[in-house]
Symmetry: C2
Subunit: 212 residues, 2 copies
Amino acid sequence: MPQGDPPQAAGPVEFYFDPISPYGYLASTQIEALAARYGREVDWRPVLLGVTVMKVMGLPPLTQTPLKKDYLAHDKPRMASLLGVPLVEHGLQNVNSLAACRAFLWLKAKDAALAKRFASRIYARLWVEGRDITPAESVADEAAALGVDRAVVLAAIESREMKDALKAAVEAAIAKCVFGVPTFIVDGEPIWGVDRLWMLEHWLRHGDWKPH
Amino acid sequence: MPQGDPPQAAGPVEFYFDPISPYGYLASTQIEALAARYGREVDWRPVLLGVTVMKVMGLPPLTQTPLKKDYLAHDKPRMASLLGVPLVEHGLQNVNSLAACRAFLWLKAKDAALAKRFASRIYARLWVEGRDITPAESVADEAAALGVDRAVVLAAIESREMKDALKAAVEAAIAKCVFGVPTFIVDGEPIWGVDRLWMLEHWLRHGDWKPH
């Protein structure tokens, strides 16, 4: 994690997301425009909070953590309001993003821009429309709305190749110390949280951590 | 936790701090000037992370949480740099702020401004000079540097009254959902994290959570 010198090459901003995260959704509505203002691309990378938070860190889900869960319940709508985007309390239990993340990786290998549109639809389905994203069928619906063949998506979701690809993606994220969502990595600098978009913008603008 | 209408009365910003927190230290260097820009007082309130995080939330210390501890080790110096203030890695183990917090409450009951100067000295001792704040003697040293009688401070630290006062302060903080440090509460709105000073400023300026 280097620090100090301004970035020489304007590499992409890595955007680590898990569809189950409301703060990941909020970040997804902002990150493309923010990066574009500084001539950067965004590389969307799925991660599974069930692995990073619960298995590797050994923590309970935030929604089951005393005090913090009440804070987050109060915080989510005001953060959405600040960003000027809709957000619903979907009230669904045990939402699982395995199928969505596998489908995302499969699409990304073909067409990264299409995969982002798909991920945005998945986020909107859960956090704007309040509809589940767990069943492979619902994931295929969102891909189909973008002109992708349903049967082919469903086969990809169940394929050994995409299961392995997602496992590798999560391991790669953990190797970079990604634990929460959203995490941005820019020029090797990890930045966690939608509440740190100002910090990401600081780096994109100045390439250092000095006051300006 | 009300939301919406601009604040009618400009009450103080409650600033919840524990001397053991580096982010609390960083916030302590900013909060008075920020609040003053909007005509607000700051009410400093000690809390014990050992109670809120470990006992009530059931979580391990951040410094022992996989992935997050590496992120925080990288993050602390860059946040200090962004804010333009010094910060050292003190390397001390098992730092305990019981004596400091009790002394703070005792001073606050006499002179709130003096108590803030004392808390700032405690923060600087640990996070700028890298010296321990655990022994009551070291706490008394910082009070004595402000002209307070050492023996009286030492007696206050050991008094039943101040032990009970700190217990009550922590319970009051938990009742307001304060779990981390720094937490700011302004007009009933809890805001957690030095990385959210922008959000506190947004509220102080606008009194709402709308984009401006």
